[in-house]
């Protein structure tokens, strides 16, 4: 079951640069906020049709990735009461209306950073990148390479190496705009590999080449057994506003899972030695 928390106190904008302009909000586990101030969340509020699609994308893919062993931010459905929504009415600096009801939040982490110039050597477990690439390809995530969509946490107090956290899944299913459009199914069937880091080939080499890709493809296929349960977690209102049919998601994911081998083409790595030398 998706966790539900209750919006209690706004803590300002997380960023005004990204499309959905998420905000930091203290959320409690009790509707009466008896456990105030609760925990700090970064909340994406339900906005328009594409916004609802973005929240569905977040909820489904963050749940799927977590179940598949990919590091993600702890997520929750954030319930906003009428009184809390009303308190936003006078906040003219927020460029959208915050409505009573369910929104999507992830726990704000103060021990992470992001980086555009990340290198292979900085990763404690580079194979995390490979798994993320395979799953991003399965769900057609279109913007993993955008700054901030991967976060990094140190693996220990005395290390200089980082673990990868998949931190934004709002643009899976070909992006929120396509996801809630009539182009959705056709585009999902047509699109190829997801984008990743520039050193992905090194990651694949050192993770084991074709065998490593096939292992992750199998993981991705197995993970689809969770989809029916995950779809049931999505608030009804999100489906209504986005006009997305849950069955379509199930169908296109199964289609892409069957085609993953063709899309990711592990055969191309078959004749390449895992140490990076090409066999004659």
């Amino acid at each position: 079951m998706a966790r539900v928390v209750y919006g209690y106190r706004d803590d300002g904008a997380q960023t005004m640069l990204s499309r959905w302009k998420p905000r930091r909000v203290f959320c409690t586990s009790q509707p009466d906020h008896s456990d105030e101030p609760g925990n700090l969340y970064v909340v994406k509020f339900l906005q328009n049709q594409a916004g609802a699609a973005a929240l569905i994308s977040e909820l489904i893919c963050t749940s799927l990735y977590t179940l598949a062993g990919i590091r993600t931010l702890d997520s929750a459905i954030v319930h906003v009461s009428q009184a809390f929504a009303d308190s936003y009415l006078t906040k003219v600096e927020i460029p959208y209306q915050i409505l009573m009801g369910d929104h999507f939040g992830t726990v704000h982490r103060s021990d992470v950073e992001t980086a555009q110039t990340l290198t292979y050597d900085q990763l404690a477990a580079p194979s995390e990148i490979l798994r993320l690439w395979v799953f991003d390809t399965l769900v057609n995530n279109v913007d993993r390479d955008i700054y901030g969509n991967v976060l990094l946490s140190l693996t220990g107090a005395n290390t200089q190496q980082f673990s990868v956290i998949a931190s934004d899944q709002s643009d899976c299913f070909c992006g929120a705009g396509v996801f809630c459009s009539e182009e959705f199914i056709r585009t999902m069937r047509r699109r190829g590999q997801a984008r990743s880091v520039s050193f992905l080939p090194t990651v694949i080499f050192n993770s084991g080449g074709a065998t490593a890709i096939r292992t992750e493809i199998a993981n991705a296929r197995d993970s689809l057994e969770h989809i029916p349960d995950i779809l049931r977690e999505v608030p009804t209102r999100w489906w209504d506003i986005s006009r997305i049919a849950p069955n379509d998601i199930q169908d296109v994911l199964e289609f892409r899972a069957r085609r993953l081998e063709a899309i990711l083409n592990p055969d191309a790595w078959e004749d390449i030695d895992v140490r990076g030398a090409k066999l004659l």
Partner: protein, 245 residues
């Protein structure tokens, strides 16, 4: 672009230590001038061992410093839509919106400076290091010290070092003292620092600089005194704080 004073801007990079209480410590400074076509950022390095920072913190700082240097070089920032130069305030305002995790950036602030590189070093020293960099690596203020022409006849073997304009300005503002090095604080006015040998000059003197509260102006003659007992970092030195140079 040394010589005349130019309008520049700077911003402070801070490392969040407690996000809930909005607590942070300064870990870097950027300085730029559109007119002088100059931009640079300086971050704390692991060998500078700032108080409160652990090796893990430096790993995070390194991530950001490398990104910032790369962005300055290319001129392109994440989420940038319009053309902006890294030598413009707009560019740094945008970067302020980009850095939202452990390292944050202040708004652009105004400053007038003659030599941007020197000013950057000075800003870094006062905002970030606060004189605490003495124990590690290169002395911070050596670029602001220069040898005076002659040593006082009464102090044979003593090297005279005078302060250049940038550092003198901070002296005049009452921001530097010899606290921790001598029992006699430096007060407002024009001073030189003297020590027993040039080789031993840098660390103890550099390490002595720090912020000071305002003190009453002493008699200038009283400042012409030798403080023979200075011992810092295991080195005994003869330090004279005096007017002149």
């Amino acid at each position: 672009m040394s010589g005349e004073l130019n309008s520049c801007s700077y911003a402070v990079l801070r490392y969040i230590t407690d996000p809930k209480r909005d607590l942070s410590i300064p870990i870097g400074v950027a300085l730029w001038t559109e007119k002088g076509k100059w931009v640079r950022a300086r971050f704390a390095q692991p060998n500078e061992a700032l108080a409160q920072l652990t090796p893990a913190d430096y790993a995070f700082i390194h991530l950001v410093s490398r990104d910032v240097e790369s962005w300055i070089k290319t001129g392109r920032l994440p989420y940038q839509e319009k053309e902006m130069s890294p030598m413009s305030d707009d560019w740094w305002r945008h970067l302020q919106q980009v850095l939202i995790h452990k390292t944050r950036l202040s708004e652009p602030r105004s400053i007038e400076c003659r030599d941007p590189q020197r000013e950057l070093d000075t800003l870094f020293a006062f905002i970030v290091s606060d004189g605490s960099l003495v124990a590690q690596g290169e002395p911070v203020f050596m670029s602001h010290l220069r040898k005076a022409s002659t040593a006082p006849a009464s102090q044979p073997g003593v090297t005279v070092v005078s302060l250049d304009t940038a550092l003198l300005r901070h002296f005049k503002a009452g921001m530097i003292s010899t606290k921790g090095l001598t029992s006699t604080p430096i007060h407002q006015g024009k001073y030189c620092l003297l020590c027993s040998s040039a080789a031993k000059l840098s660390k103890p003197i550099v390490g002595s600089f720090g912020r000071q509260t305002s003190l009453p102006m002493p008699n200038e003659e009283k400042l012409q005194q030798t403080i023979p007992h200075v011992s810092k970092n295991g080195m005994d030195q003869k330090i004279v704080v005096g007017a002149g140079a």
